[in-house]
């Protein structure tokens, strides 16, 4: 039996298409692998650190980091820019050149389209890459399907600004061009989401902006959670001390519908909030690639991992770090913060190197330190130490700043050094 050319192509096309194979079959290998290789997906707070630390620990392991953008813009401190306290994003923008120059991290600027866990291969817009171990640090994407009327254009009118960069500029510009006397709405999602104190910090800084530049305007924070979920005594004190005239916090308001034409958001179809500027931060889950690669758990949102190696419980040889993870936790989990991702990346890097070298793995020890500005000159913080206990991650110390703001000015200054150090760690 023979096949003519046309039927043959049809067969191959149909079969391969159904199995999702043609991309893998056809795409060229970007860098054929010779020795041992770790591939890192995502150059944010987690990925950049994981890539650097694997190289610091073992120069014989090749590290290739795949990142969409040539520059990374930090979410931490982007609220300063949004609220007009800094003029540009230079202080929150980094590149990767020195990771290559100083540590030999190889960069591939491309979009990851798939992961073939069985073949240990990453498929990107630029071709494929083989790996021995893969570290995925995909950050978050949004569960926009939970908001009726949310489409591809919604974020252009109701910016989330929960990924820093163009979205931050959009929200900033909307605030600056709003007339005095306008209403600003921040809608924040149910926990867990990226950066627990972030929406509350944003509310303080936008309220500060309005108080300073547009005193007849007001800000409403719609919290999908029934109550403040992070640094509560500190934020409630800041609101009542500094912003009681132009700010209102309303808990238990989960936005279920967005109407960009009418400039309103709806709560369960029973209550509408109209705003001149609407900062709609949808509910979140692990970044798209983690969902596509089957790394999310039964909840379809977050990636379950081992608390020592950060190896996915879904796919062997793939490790997940940062916001996307669901860590086995005893008590309150590590927050989805930049510092947590930094800490997790180092633990993961160390144990990935141990696994590749056939050595014993080492138990987790990590820190989370987050500063939140409450005005243009005061900040508050949370400081936490996490360790492994019975296979789970547990805090051995957690405390927030004193509620009298006696450390506020010092912490504002320390916060800037925090930013400088953590971004320098990622980029040099």
């Amino acid at each position: 039996m023979t096949l003519d050319r046309r039927s043959f192509l049809k067969l191959v096309g149909a079969g391969a298409g159904a199995a999702g194979l043609p991309m893998i079959g056809r795409a060229a290998d970007i860098m054929p692998k010779s020795g041992r290789r770790v591939v890192v997906i995502g150059g944010g707070y987690g990925g950049a650190i994981a890539a650097k630390y694997v190289r610091m620990l073992d120069k014989s392991i090749e590290v290739v980091m795949i990142e969409r953008n040539k520059q990374f813009v930090s979410c931490p401190f982007s609220n300063f820019y949004i609220a007009g306290l800094t003029d540009n994003m230079n202080n929150i923008t980094i590149g990767y050149d020195k990771l290559t120059a100083n540590h030999g991290v190889k960069m591939v600027y491309a979009e990851v389209t798939d992961i073939d866990a069985a073949a240990k291969k990453v498929v990107t817009s630029a071709g494929t890459l083989d790996y021995d171990r893969l570290i995925v640090s995909p950050g978050i994407d949004f569960r926009t399907e939970e908001i009726e009327g949310y489409n591809a254009q919604t974020a252009e009118i109701f910016p989330h600004a929960w990924k820093a960069g163009a979205q931050s500029t959009l929200l900033r510009n909307q605030l600056q061009s709003m007339k005095d006397g306008g209403t600003v709405i921040i809608s924040m999602p149910l926990t867990p989401y990226r950066c627990p104190p972030g929406p509350y910090e944003r509310s303080c800084l936008i309220a500060h902006y309005l108080k300073t530049h547009k005193p007849k305007s007001k800000l409403i924070l719609l919290d999908a959670n029934p109550d403040v979920v992070s640094k509560k005594p500190l934020f409630t004190k800041a609101w009542s001390t500094y912003y009681k005239d132009n700010f209102q916090y309303i808990g238990g308001k989960k936005v279920t519908k967005a109407d960009t034409g009418a400039k309103l958001v709806s709560i369960e179809g029973i209550e509408d909030f109209k705003g001149d500027v609407i900062n709609l931060i949808p509910s979140q889950r692990a970044g798209d690639i983690a969902v596509k690669a089957g790394l999310v758990g039964d909840d379809k949102k977050w990636c379950p991992v081992d608390a020592v190696t950060f190896e996915s419980t879904k796919h062997k040889g793939i490790h997940v770090i940062g916001d996307a993870t669901a860590l086995p936790s005893d008590g309150p989990p590590m927050p989805k913060s930049g510092y947590s991702a930094n800490s997790q990346a180092k633990v993961c890097a160390m144990n990935v190197v141990n696994l590749l070298n056939g050595k014993e793995t080492v138990e987790f020890s990590g820190i989370n330190v987050c500063y939140s500005a409450i005005s243009d000159h005061e900040s508050v913080s949370i400081a936490q130490v996490f360790k492994l206990e019975g296979g789970k991650i547990k805090s051995s110390a957690t405390a927030i700043s004193p509620a009298d703001f006696s450390l506020g000015k010092a912490e504002h200054v320390y916060g800037e050094s925090w930013l400088r150090n953590i971004l320098t760690e990622m980029s040099t």
């Binding site: 610091m56 510092y339 160390m350 080492v362 020890s365 820190i367 936490q384 296979g391 150090n421 040099t428």
Partner: protein, 192 residues
């Protein structure tokens, strides 16, 4: 028979899994790397108000952490973080940072102040802050190349009484003018 065989396989694979799950307690590097988010990779700080830990003596870090933990030394986050670590863990971290080489910074300093500071250092401080502040006697911290804003904030805490000066330091500092102290800090900031 078949069932028993399968049961045995299951038992050994459970054993294998638990053996894999065994991990060593956190190493010095594992503990210390977490600090680097604020203090820089291997304890070399890029943040102007955050001290470098690299090349500080083991004793200096142990004493600092002990005083943070008890509240004797004022702090923002350090007192809170110190409570999360055992003495043995603090010692492991202190040893790790003591083995890192001095983090050399390039700072804008006032040449006249550096010159004056150098002479003050020699006549007043050099017995404890040895080697131009590149090393410290016992638990004396390394001052060389620390960021000027960090040292200025600490000196302000000393002068206001928030942070208690060691007796020997107080004897030397009390007679000095603010200008003298500022000159000393410029000197330390200039040492590479």
């Amino acid at each position: 028979m078949m069932m028993r065989w399968r049961g045995w396989t299951l038992a050994t694979s459970v054993l294998a899994i638990s053996a894999l799950a065994q991990a060593a307690p956190p190493s010095a590097a594992m503990l210390s790397n977490a600090c680097a988010g604020c203090h820089g990779t291997n304890g070399g700080s890029a943040g102007l108000t955050m001290p470098s830990l690299a090349s500080q003596s083991k004793e200096a870090i142990e004493v600092a952490m002990k005083k943070f933990k008890s509240g004797e030394r004022p702090s923002t986050v350090m007192g809170r973080l110190a409570k999360g670590y055992s003495d043995a863990e603090v010692t492991a971290m202190a040893e790790f940072f003591s083995k890192q080489k001095l983090h050399v910074t390039n700072q804008v300093v006032d040449a006249a102040k550096v010159k004056k500071g150098a002479s003050l250092q020699e006549s007043n401080c050099g017995r404890c802050h040895i080697e131009d502040g590149r090393e410290g006697k016992d638990d004396t911290p390394v001052m060389a190349s620390q960021w000027l804003p960090y040292m200025q904030m600490q000196m302000a805490d000393y002068l206001s009484g928030k942070r208690k000066m060691p007796e020997k330091m107080k004897e030397k500092v009390d007679p000095m003018s603010k200008e003298d102290l500022e000159a000393l800090l410029h000197f330390y900031a200039s040492v590479k």
